[in-house]
């Protein structure tokens, strides 16, 4: 038995070198951003293009989820800032799905390209998302996957598997001569920034669903505190990275429709990190601003963009 166990251990150790080598294989950012071919693929390719192919600077970067994708129009922000006498290049680098670690990845990539943003506008929602972004493993650097910012990472192996998957495919495609898909195309925002107004039933049901799932049955305080360590560790790291390059960070609150308290649950925590910009309650309550319970429509985006642009102008003066 001992001989068998030793030989099996040696075999497994040697065999593990193969996936280990793949995990450590350098992969191009282009490939990483183009790899996930889901409904967010165009958006991902756009972000890559804006960071790595478009050489124009990024003075103001909006980072966040689809809430920011839908809720902020960089062209409106640009033109308002121009009116205020501030010439700045605005880039909306928000990406679908939720996960604070993805904000970290995008900001890290942004700062690596030395576009030197003056200001990062980081989205916050009613709840701080405590899980890993579904695409984190694909886009992050391997050291960020191996060593997440917090030990409280319930999806560690899932992210590791994603990191392995993208690198394996990169090597395989390299060997077999398959070209990287994902030519740059203007990001398709699908239903977003449409002129429609959400059906009241849709808004109500979305709010009700969220209420029953999250607010009516709150987690135990100790569990809440434990799970929040994960995203907060990434928040701290984001603030640290921004400080190192003298980039200011402000937080922009864009919740789902129907959150009754009109401010983030972690407001005190956020205010300890940076300024938090909140729209008036009436903005969030106005059904005319929503295309469905998760996202603002074009009108809502216009109002928010205009308002936040003026706020940014004050920040930059």
């Amino acid at each position: 038995m001992r001989r068998f166990l030793i030989k099996t251990f040696v075999f497994v150790a040697v065999a593990s070198l193969v996936p280990a080598a793949i995990l450590l294989w350098p992969v191009s950012k282009r490939y990483q951003y183009a790899f996930v071919r889901n409904d967010c693929a165009a958006r991902s390719n756009y972000i890559y293009h804006r960071l790595y192919e478009d050489t124009t600077r990024v003075d103001i970067a909006f980072i966040g989820t689809s809430h920011t994708m839908c809720g902020v129009s960089d062209s409106i922000v640009n033109s308002v800032l121009k009116q205020e006498g501030i010439h700045a290049r605005v880039a909306n680098l928000a990406i679908c799905r939720v996960g604070r670690n993805m904000d970290y990845v995008v900001i890290k990539d942004l700062l690596k390209t030395k576009k030197q943003p003056k200001l990062i506008v980081l989205e916050v929602k009613q709840e701080e998302p405590d899980l890993s972004h579904p695409d984190f493993g694909y886009r992050a650097e391997i050291e960020d996957v191996f060593f997440p910012q917090s030990a409280v990472d319930v999806q560690y192996f899932k992210d590791l598997a994603a990191a392995f998957n993208v690198r394996l495919n990169y090597v395989r495609d390299g060997i077999t001569g398959r070209e990287c898909d994902g030519e740059y195309e203007a990001p398709s925002l699908g239903i977003y920034r449409q002129k429609g107004i959400a059906d009241s039933t849709v808004l109500y049901q979305g709010a009700l669903r969220r209420w029953e799932r999250y607010y009516n049955q709150p987690r135990a305080a100790w569990l809440d505190s434990l799970m929040l360590r994960y995203p907060k560790a990434y928040m701290s790291e984001i603030m640290k990275m921004a400080r190192e390059v003298h980039t200011k960070v402000v937080l922009l609150y864009i919740p789902n429709y129907g959150y009754p308290w009109h401010k983030p649950r972690e407001l005190a925590y956020y205010r300890g990190l940076a300024d938090v910009y909140l729209m008036p309650d009436s903005f969030y309550d106005n059904k005319g601003n929503w295309i469905e319970d998760e996202h603002l429509n074009a009108d809502g985006a216009a109002i928010l963009s205009d308002s936040v642009a003026h706020y940014i102008a004050r920040q930059l003066r």
Binding site: K7, F11, V14, A15, P19, V171, T176, R178
Partner: protein, 478 residues
């Protein structure tokens, strides 16, 4: 839980350690632990399936126990009836209810009658065809006095639920397996090493060969109108080897895993595609199932000891049932029918050719017949199967080219070239194993070559075997 999953990769070492380090002192405790592990393994899919497994096991154990104590022929026949009814009714309900309801409805509609049968949304329990047959063979053997019924419930439950072969065979026989559960098992180094080798080779066949051939087969079968002639034929060939590698790969993993626990399962495949006749093919393909049908259907009907017409009729019943066993679809029945048809021809024209050319020509012909039958096995409908065959045969230069097929499947032709090299490597290995067992072939290799081949297999499994969504084992559907 499938064999080629992270969950199984974690499950197996834990069970291995528990089995040999914690429970090895007592065979009963070892068997009890195997039961727990097997039920966990099976319940991973759906815990509700466990009730069915337990029910089948308990009914058949009770029947075997009662048969041990009964000499009355009427009583014994009654007990046999109980086991047949309970096992077959479970199988019928879960697998065939909707099929027969729909078929009867269609038949009545064809005759101008309207029938509104209720069809129920029934979840097919994984492996039900396998463990039901295994358990049923036990009670039939006890009834026929080929063996005494087991008096030990633990041993019997372990026999029925043994996880390496629970969901897709081999369908073991009680006289072969039960004594292995009854005796004390000692760890055998060589047996365990052979087990690991077999698992590795099985993973290679499934993850590298079968899953990549599946891409090609699916491309052709799912777009039957697009690919014609040689492209279509390539798709059929791809499925022919896919199903072999998928199923034999599973069997290899099952055999290898069983060896890690000191058990020997029966070989399920012996290079079937090298068969000269269809008769030989059925002695080499899914051996556990074909021998089950031989022993419990064909022979009771009279087997070979009857006139030729009767023999052909017996074969007909056996192969139609065999087709039906694979699935509740007419295409499976037709697949069985095609095999019967050519077997009947062989019955009427016995004797394999003696010359080298004749034998190999016959080998090629048998292979072609098997491939053609697989078209019906793979197609979703009869119409789809006939369309595939029509396009293959009648439009040799039509449709998309081979190059287009390979690019559509593998994105680059270079991938196809590399995979073809891997496939040729596999064919060479299978050629070497056509007359000898896997264990003998590997044992005879020089140590350096053997160890290098392990590494090559691991590299191939890692590079070619991991996909975003790999196809499940084909025989899990049965």
């Amino acid at each position: 839980m499938v064999f080629n999953s992270i969950a199984f990769a974690l499950f197996l070492p834990l069970v291995f350690c528990g089995y040999w380090f914690i429970f090895s002192r007592s065979v009963r405790w070892q068997n009890a632990f195997l039961i727990a592990a097997s039920y966990f393994f099976y319940g991973w899919w759906d815990w509700r399936f466990l009730i069915l497994l337990a029910f089948t096991s308990l009914v058949d154990f009770s029947v075997g126990y009662a048969l041990n104590r009964s000499e009355n022929p009427m009583h014994r026949r009654l007990l046999l009836g109980v086991t047949l009814v309970s096992n077959l009714s479970v199988l019928f309900f879960f697998k065939y209810f909707n099929f027969f309801a729909d078929s009867v409805r269609e038949l009545m509609a064809a005759c101008g009658w309207r029938a509104d049968f209720v069809t129920i949304k029934i979840l097919l329990p994984v492996g039900i065809s396998f463990y039901t047959f295994q358990s049923l063979s036990y009670t039939i053997d006890v009834y026929q006095r080929k063996m005494k019924g087991s008096e030990n419930l633990i041993d019997f439950l372990a026999f029925v639920s043994f996880f390496p072969q629970l969901v897709a065979g081999p369908i073991e026989r009680a006289p072969h397996m039960l004594p292995q559960f009854a005796r004390q098992r000692e760890f055998d180094y060589h047996q365990a090493v052979m087990g690991v080798r077999r698992i590795l080779y099985g993973l290679f066949k499934k993850m590298v060969v079968a899953d990549n051939l599946a891409l090609l087969a699916d491309q052709v079968f799912d777009h039957a109108g697009v690919f014609h002639g040689i492209s279509s034929a390539i798709g059929i060939l791809a499925f022919t080897f896919q199903i072999y590698c998928d199923f034999s790969g599973y069997s290899d993993i099952a055999l290898g895993t069983a060896r890690l626990f000191g058990f020997e399962l029966i070989e399920n495949f012996r290079a079937p595609y090298f068969s000269i006749t269809l008769r030989e093919f059925w002695r080499r393909w899914h051996i556990s199932l074909s021998t089950w049908f031989r022993d419990y259907v064909y022979i009771p009907l009279g087997g070979n000891k009857v006139s030729t017409p009767r023999r052909i009729y017996n074969l007909f019943v056996t192969f139609v049932l065999s087709g039906l066993w694979h699935g509740a679809q007419w295409t499976f029945v037709i697949w069985g029918f095609i095999h019967w048809l050519f077997l009947a021809v062989e019955e009427l024209m016995p004797g394999a050719p003696g010359s080298f050319v004749g034998r190999n020509a016959r080998r090629v012909l048998t292979f072609i017949i098997v491939c053609l039958a697989w078209v019906f096995f793979r197609a979703r409908t009869l119409q789809e199967a006939l369309q595939m065959l029509y396009h293959t045969a009648t439009r040799p230069n039509g449709g998309e080219s081979i190059s287009a097929l390979l690019r559509a499947t593998y994105h680059t032709e270079l991938f196809a070239v590399y995979f073809f090299c891997v496939f040729m490597l596999f064919c060479i290995l299978e050629w070497l194993m056509r007359k000898e067992t896997f264990d003998l072939v590997v044992d005879r290799m020089p140590t350096l070559a053997r160890r290098s081949s392990y590494l090559v297999l691991v590299v191939l499994i890692v590079f070619w075997g991991f996909k975003d969504s790999a196809p499940v084992f084909i025989y899990f559907k049965f």
